[in-house]
């Protein structure tokens, strides 16, 4: 996927969000750092460019809510979560870059509930690579990318990674 394809996928998601949420002023896009936050910002910009109201955006860090604590030999940086409050009556759309096992999304839902009780939670992802380990599905998916479990999906976004927008599927390396 190149930059143009990523942009098309995001526009499609933005249109679907507008169609399915007549009350856009109650929508909050909650990005999972760091690329999910960037994608949430882009989606908000696209929605606004369609002549729609500006939706709320926030960031939801899932590190403290993961289910694999104590299994990793090193820990990455945790970021503060920021959500426009209160969440009561709102539709919170979790925004992630690559939707995979569903464990990150479960952790994100758990994190969101510690801020309040939104009317509903939905999920938007740029890429859905399959291999779910939990009963979770995406509401808005930019591209379905069939993968093998050992393969890697490599996503780069200009403002986060300093490289042009692109998605690669990296095949399993034979040892």
């Amino acid at each position: 996927m190149d930059a143009a394809a990523i942009d098309r996928a995001l526009r499609r998601i933005a249109h679907e969000i507008v169609e399915r949420n007549p009350q856009l002023d109650t929508v909050i896009l909650a990005g999972i750092p760091s690329r999910g936050v960037e994608i949430a910002g882009r989606l908000a910009d696209i929605i606004e460019s369609l002549g729609q109201p500006r939706v709320g955006i926030g960031a939801i860090d899932v590190s403290m809510h993961r289910d694999d604590i104590g299994t990793r030999p090193e820990l990455p940086r945790v970021q503060a979560s920021t959500l426009p409050l209160p969440l009561e009556g709102k539709t919170v759309i979790i925004v992630d870059d690559v939707f995979f096992t569903g464990r990150t999304v479960r952790a994100a839902m758990d994190a969101i509930s510690s801020f309040g009780r939104p009317a509903r939670i939905q999920l938007a992802a740029l890429i859905d690579r399959g291999h779910r380990e939990l009963p979770i599905r995406g509401d808005y998916v930019g591209k379905n990318l069939p993968t093998a479990p050992g393969e890697q999906v490599r996503l780069r976004l200009e403002d986060v990674d300093g490289e042009p927008d692109a998605v690669w599927l990296i095949k399993e390396e034979k040892a």
Binding site: R66, G70, E74, L75, R77, S81
Partner: protein, 307 residues
């Protein structure tokens, strides 16, 4: 970078990068304190033993609240309820803690090096909550965090640490942390409590408080530890206040944005004038709140990695 340590024994062995990483992580945990539900499942299923061989209320309570907010189960063992006073060695006590499957041990001990002794022998994470006159790393981290929160950065600041430096693990941990992050440090106190040897660490030593008042960005007042003072080191309360107390008159000479810090508990009217302790420049209560965030970060990082 990524965090890789199971133990926090002192500031001396940390890199500047690791200190910044801890402070950044504390920022994230400070946010948790603003949520409707101030509790995250990060250490769910883990057991933390607060093992305080030396008495302490605030540090123990701070660690306990931090652990509870991380969903860990907390057991408190204090000197009076521990069999150490019945003659059990630290090594035997360590084995008992391990047999209980304690995942994290927060240790306060009168002997320097006791946390390291445990850390080398146990799979559990060991967090130093103050050992002898050696280090008190979480106090230094919360001081650095508080300074950074107000000043934006620690680098380039002039920090004066005032009082009983010789016996102070808080001072030692602070000195290591401040220097690593690029601050200029001046130690102030009577020559018996602030010997010139400290200059080998890279700090300035002075025995005149008046010399630092106008240039300090932060004054950190250490508690006069009456219980540890021996007569030959200490000039007497009246003389101490006259020479080293932050009195109202001295307070007026501080820069308007100079932060006044104190690790507590405060001896009002001794290290610091009561009004100054409650004044607008004082961040003493913020230090307490920030201590929770910093300790949550330490417990999360050290207790959260695979061992």
């Amino acid at each position: 970078m990524r965090w890789q340590r199971k133990d926090l024994l002192g500031i001396r062995e940390l890199s500047a990068e690791e200190i910044i990483f801890l402070l950044d992580t504390a920022d994230a945990f400070k946010e948790v304190g603003t949520r409707e539900i101030k509790k995250v499942p990060a250490l769910r299923g883990k057991t933390l033993v607060n093992f305080f061989v030396e008495p302490s209320t605030r540090t123990r309570t701070s660690f306990e609240i931090a652990a509870i907010r991380l969903s860990a189960d907390v057991i408190n063992i204090s000197a009076s309820s521990s069999s150490l006073i019945k003659g059990e060695t630290l090594k035997d006590t360590a084995k008992i803690l391990e047999a209980y499957h304690a995942d994290l041990i927060v240790l306060r001990h009168s002997s320097s090096g006791a946390p390291q002794f445990l850390a080398e022998r146990l799979k559990s994470s060991v967090i130093n909550a103050g050992d002898g006159a050696h280090e008190h790393p979480t106090q230094a981290l919360l001081d650095l965090y508080t300074i950074r929160a107000h000043k934006g950065t620690v680098a380039g600041l002039h920090v004066a640490i005032i009082g009983d430096i010789l016996f102070s693990r808080v001072a030692r941990s602070n000195i290591f942390g401040l220097l690593k992050l690029g601050a200029r440090v001046t130690l102030v106190g009577p020559s018996t409590l602030v010997p010139r040897e400290f200059e080998k660490l890279g700090v300035t030593v002075t025995h005149k408080l008046d010399e630092v008042l106008e240039t300090a960005d932060v004054v950190n007042l250490l508690r006069i530890q009456h219980e540890r003072q021996r007569k030959e080191y200490f000039p007497g309360i009246g003389e101490y206040v006259r020479l080293f107390g932050l009195t109202k008159e001295r307070g007026k000479r501080l820069k308007p944005d100079c932060l006044i810090m104190h690790p507590g508990p405060i001896n009002r009217g001794v290290e610091i004038d009561s009004e100054l302790a409650d004044g607008t420049q004082s961040v003493i209560l913020e230090q307490v709140t920030n201590g929770l965030a910093v300790r949550m970060a330490v417990l999360y990082l050290c207790g959260g990695i695979a061992t």
